[in-house]
Symmetry: C2
């Protein structure tokens, strides 16, 4: 029915999937990479950097902001976005633990 049955999974399993969903669109990956590259804040030139329309970029920014990975700061008419380094660090811990579960490798029947 198109609905994820979140209640049958653990909080961690849901958290991993929510974080991953944020990275599951190349525009959001590109936004994050650009924010890291610029290092300081960036305003509306994401629209020029990426070839998508302004409302589309705004929507992607909203999702990243809602998840807490970026912060927005109003400066006059423009809005300055930058990475939320604290949130990024905690997110990285969660994802790294998930990615690093492949240490033993005992049996392999395939």
């Amino acid at each position: 029915m198109g609905v994820s049955k979140t209640e049958m999974f653990t909080d961690l399993q849901n958290e991993i999937s929510i974080i991953s969903k944020a990275f599951s669109h190349p525009a959001r990956v590109t936004i994050l990479q650009y924010l890291f590259k610029i290092d300081s804040c960036v305003c509306g030139d994401l629209v020029n950097e990426i070839g998508l329309a302004q409302p589309t970029i705004s929507q992607h920014l909203k999702e990243l902001k809602h998840l807490g990975l970026i912060k927005g700061n109003v400066e006059g008419t423009s809005v300055c976005y930058c990475i939320n380094h604290e949130k990024w660090a905690t997110m990285k811990t969660v994802m790294s633990e998930f990615l690093d579960q492949d240490i033993p490798k005992k049996n392999d029947c395939c």
Copy 2:
């Protein structure tokens, strides 16, 4: 229009998003965790482990297999699935590089 404009992004940006999409559903996260936990192969008991219907699990397995993260081996009437450790390792490299881009942290206006 619901279509990701993949052609305007780099191969790496698209690769990160494709990998992340595989992890963007808690059922697939759970399947992978279970395969790691069991370590050796597993057959149809994923349906019992997770509370989803058999066709749904089969569909999630198909996506993970298509991406190459798991391998399937037919054994009589059942199919034995297990982690593709080589593919997992290369995937981890790509994702780790993306997650580890937050080293400097010079300016922060937000």
